[in-house]
Amino acid sequence: MKQETLKQILSAQAAKQPIVLASNLNTNEQLTLTPDQIGHPDWMVAALDAAIRSDKSRVTDAPDGTPWFFNVFNPPLRLIIVGAVHIAQPLARMGLEAGYDVSVVDPREAFASAERFPNITLIREWPDEALQNLALDARTAVVTLTHDPKLDDPALHVALKSAAFYIGALGSKKTQATRQQRLTDAGFASAEIARICGPIGLDIAAKSPAEIAIAILAEITQTLRQERS
């Protein structure tokens, strides 16, 4: 690989843009491909699109039988945490470690402080505004942790209308039931509401904030990997 090619991949990653490195495994010719480029052969454009859409790198044969390796570098998956509460602190750190681009949304500045969340993107806005601006997609997980319907519900409304691959809401079975009722009253169908994982997290009898964060991240991982593979 040319150093220049490596720099192109790193700048695309820094700009959070998808990029694919195509390597001819016979001649070692390499091309960096992005979705907006024109002039490439049809088979290559199709392989590029498939790699980016499926998030899977793979070997594809050109029409002449030459094997090419398409290595996809998609922007990181995103984890949006609504509620800068205690559980959000270990969850944000663990999310970073698992490779997520983590944002914490909370309009309460005392909660969403840089002291409590070093190196994490903090968005001090109301969750509905914030989540609309974040353009949730199929590579995004949304977790609501505030317990406060004034903050959690608007976030869930936006999340349920999006393609987010995971939506989880903290709260007991009783809290879940009242939340479901509010969402029903707001016009959401039961199939839509069923997308919300709650009580949140895998049942590992977690107690401390860090343990609950492990349970949540485990459930996000399970949803991501089991449904996509």
């Binding site: 040319k2 490596l6 790198s57 290595n71 990181p76 593979s229």
Partner: protein, 118 residues
Amino acid sequence: MANSSMTETATHSDDNVLAQAAAWADAGHKVALATVIETWGSAPRPVGSQLAIREDATFVGSVSGGCIEGDVVIRALDAIQSEASEVLEYGVADAMAWEVGLACGGKIKIYLEPLTHS
């Protein structure tokens, strides 16, 4: 470690492998990159996983659960010298299985390439 091979989603949470490779090159080191390009059976790391190797055998990242990294590093040092890319195959069917085979019974194909200036 039993993954579903070809269907495994390749993620690049090990992005820092490439960043590290670039940092080494900028500091004047010679560097090679090894990338998993195909897997069969229960391979420990998905397609797209990468290892960056420096001329003094320092490395970051992974292409298996540690089963074949030793051999990949040795071959990478040759690739750094020869400036030639090659495809490596590992698996139980490999003649060198006793030395660098995969205990899990999987097969891995690796693309090994030196980082070059032009």
